[in-house]
Symmetry: C2
Subunit: 228 residues, 2 copies
Amino acid sequence: MAERRTSGSRKRRFKDELYAAVARVPAALANGHRLELLDLLSQRPRTVQDVAAEAGITVANASQHLQVLARCGLVAVERRGTFAHYRAAGPAVYRLLVELRAVAESADASVADAEQAYFGPREPGIRTIDGARDALADAHTALLDARPREEYEAAHLPGAISAPLDALRSGKVALPRSKQYVVYCRGPYCVFADEAVALLRERGLDARRLSLGPAEWVAAGGDVQRVG
Amino acid sequence: MAERRTSGSRKRRFKDELYAAVARVPAALANGHRLELLDLLSQRPRTVQDVAAEAGITVANASQHLQVLARCGLVAVERRGTFAHYRAAGPAVYRLLVELRAVAESADASVADAEQAYFGPREPGIRTIDGARDALADAHTALLDARPREEYEAAHLPGAISAPLDALRSGKVALPRSKQYVVYCRGPYCVFADEAVALLRERGLDARRLSLGPAEWVAAGGDVQRVG
DNA sequence: GCCATATTCAAGAACTTTCGCGAATATGCG
DNA sequence: CGCATATTCGCGAAAGTTCTTGAATATGGC
């Protein structure tokens, strides 16, 4: 306490250190590939080659990126035999990503542009947790999970039915006409739900998109279910 | 919709673009000086030389950093005469910073270390919004704002009394012994409140720290008051 | 118009990040 | 043990970031 007053440079040195230490977290997030890997790992644990293939980068590169994320505590790793299973570190990480996207979309026009260029003019769908709860309160509404089955098994919204795109295309999911459908996938930057909605509408069904994934749901304090 | 299926590389290109665009926000945050500037601007609008002096960097350097923050929409600038008044862009930025610190502290031991080295072993004080509301519900509790008066005037917690460190030291703030005091300052990485608490205790007063500033308060949905 | 001042710009040196490539390590299995 | 496979490491080239320095721009007052 006394020494705090003696030297401005001591104060400055520690302040610099503290902010530099905090800055390591945004530094780890400051790369498109790492953000994509983090999104993938928010769905379920995956091996290095698994994320590498999904993100379209080399295994060595993916390994390096995952190590950067792990060094900041953004992902955790569990080694089983020769495999390294990486996963997102927890709800705090989901919350950080949600706020990050919120700022990026509101502030930086290029994000909205890129989104628009990728998805085309899509209807916004249901974007908020409250909106989702409202829609799902209706007994005539069924909630579909358009992600691959492994991700559904790892964590899905309460009451959701697994309806991977492939299964929908080949008609393997029973879809009574009496229901209204709400479809979600990995999160706001994922197209699975958009494609599923298009597919259901082609068949004359009433379908809407929910632009949230399990990670955003958990970030907002919701609980998820798992299989097995 | 059709073209989305035609080319994996088109999908990949847009995905890369989208994630790269989002990554520009953490890139802007990935620097200790910029984080410190953002903390300063979360208290009140300031000119370039103002933040430069407070953060201990050159004016040209501060200008460059502020431009980086502005390009991502993290700060806004208003020009009045030859002065540029920069300010934090809004509640979404505060929320992002709160989540950033939460992840940095929980995940990266070096943040906690740096904090500890800087502050020494300090008692945690009141760290949550709910804790603050509870403490302040007591009619015998007075809330003190230890920041410089300009910051108090720009935004302070409802019912807070301005008690800048200088004024406290020179005994210019009336402090009845019948009260219990809760003191806050800029936020968790600011020492003003710690010093104020030490000062009050030396005088035999009952004082505790609130480790939140107005920015964190607003991030949690609270409202603030301003003077004038 | 001219000066003082606040801010921004431009160029360059030091440093860090990214990514491919090939090699190294480590685990499990026959 | 020897081999196949998953992951990590090390190196080097290209690209990006940071900070300093000195100059350029722009505003307001005399």
